[in-house]
Subunit: 205 residues, 2 copies
């Protein structure tokens, strides 16, 4: 692409660095901003700069936060003895959007994946282990993606906690609501038969 | 979506205002920026703010510019007597990318479209008319999209220029290179037969 303005060119090339944004999309976004009121563009730029400069990670659960403790950990209405373990911030947002979970979180910052060179030390597993006696945790719910890496991570943490009086559970895996049996993979279908639920229990939900 | 950080929430909602960017994509982009070095995010924000604050429109051709005259108009190697008329900045970039045009531009800022309430007065038609005697223009090339609005705009400007000694042309319309005859619409195919080219002329290109 040939630009007649270096200001335009550098704005486009910055946008094109974002994942999934090509040169043409970047140009479309920049020309959109160029048509907006200067005030709106200032608000856009400032929101991003402020976010990067001021955002913190919760000292307790490693979720994003505006101060040293995140809004979820600081909420006295949440059950502090119930910890949901997730891979990343996106998963926290997904679970919060269901409005079905009343405990607190622990963000691992990834999952154990030897092929990608990610071992337990790069994750927040040690701080999690330390939280449990300090916070008198009663239950840990693993909400990790159902794959080999997720299962490895669960297995590793569970091993570390042997002898600790805490209940360890994982979110249910099975056929998704609205999904179709014939298109489910064999492993999912097999597990959903093994872990079948009594109908009375299912109907409660 | 439920966020535990208002800083994150406002960055996501700013991104989600961009055309074609939904809430989920906005979150993905913001979390990508959050993982980058602070310096990279500063560069991103500053490039956009600087672009909006400092960008100018060329006083002669209305293209985007870093100063009062754009790089194309200021280039002494460009034929100043040959003006290509385009709808918007995106079209300038598209034509410049072909590296086949050695004249200068005139950006109309839109096309005549009564249904959208856009008349000749909202476009830079008057400044174009004034450019022609002043710059001793020899040829005007219309590079507008081939549709009713484009043709209306060409007709209007051409009428205004009656009696002015300037050659008026339009970019060729026809079957696109790599296109297939059987999928071309009737109007395109009909015009491409009417405006057929001698083969010697075609082979030159």
């Amino acid at each position: 692409m040939e630009f007649s303005s270096s200001l335009l060119e550098s704005a486009v090339s910055e946008f094109a660095k974002l994942p999934g944004i090509g040169k043409k999309t970047a140009l479309r976004l920049v020309l959109h901003l160029l048509k907006q009121d200067p005030g709106n563009v200032e608000a856009f730029g400032e929101a991003i700069l402020k976010m990067r400069r001021e955002i913190k990670f919760c000292e307790r659960c490693y979720n994003v936060a505006d101060s040293t403790t995140c809004a979820i950990c600081a909420n006295p209405l949440r059950k502090q003895e119930l910890i949901c373990i997730v891979e990343n911030i996106r998963d926290v947002i997904a679970i919060e959007s269901t409005q079905q979970f009343s405990g607190v979180y622990h963000v691992l910052g990834g999952i154990i994946s030897p092929l990608d060179g990610i071992g337990p030390d790069q994750l927040t597993i040690e701080p999690l282990i330390q939280r449990i006696p300090r916070e008198k945790t009663e239950e840990l719910i693993f909400a990790l993606n159902p794959n080999i890496q997720g299962d490895t991570t669960i297995y590793y943490i569970q091993k570390k906690l042997q002898g600790t009086p805490v209940r360890i559970t994982t979110i249910a895996r099975g056929i998704a609501f609205g999904g179709e049996l014939e298109y489910a993979d064999e492993m999912t279908l097999a597990r959903s038969i093994t872990n079948r639920l009594p109908v009375e229990k299912y109907v409660q939900h």
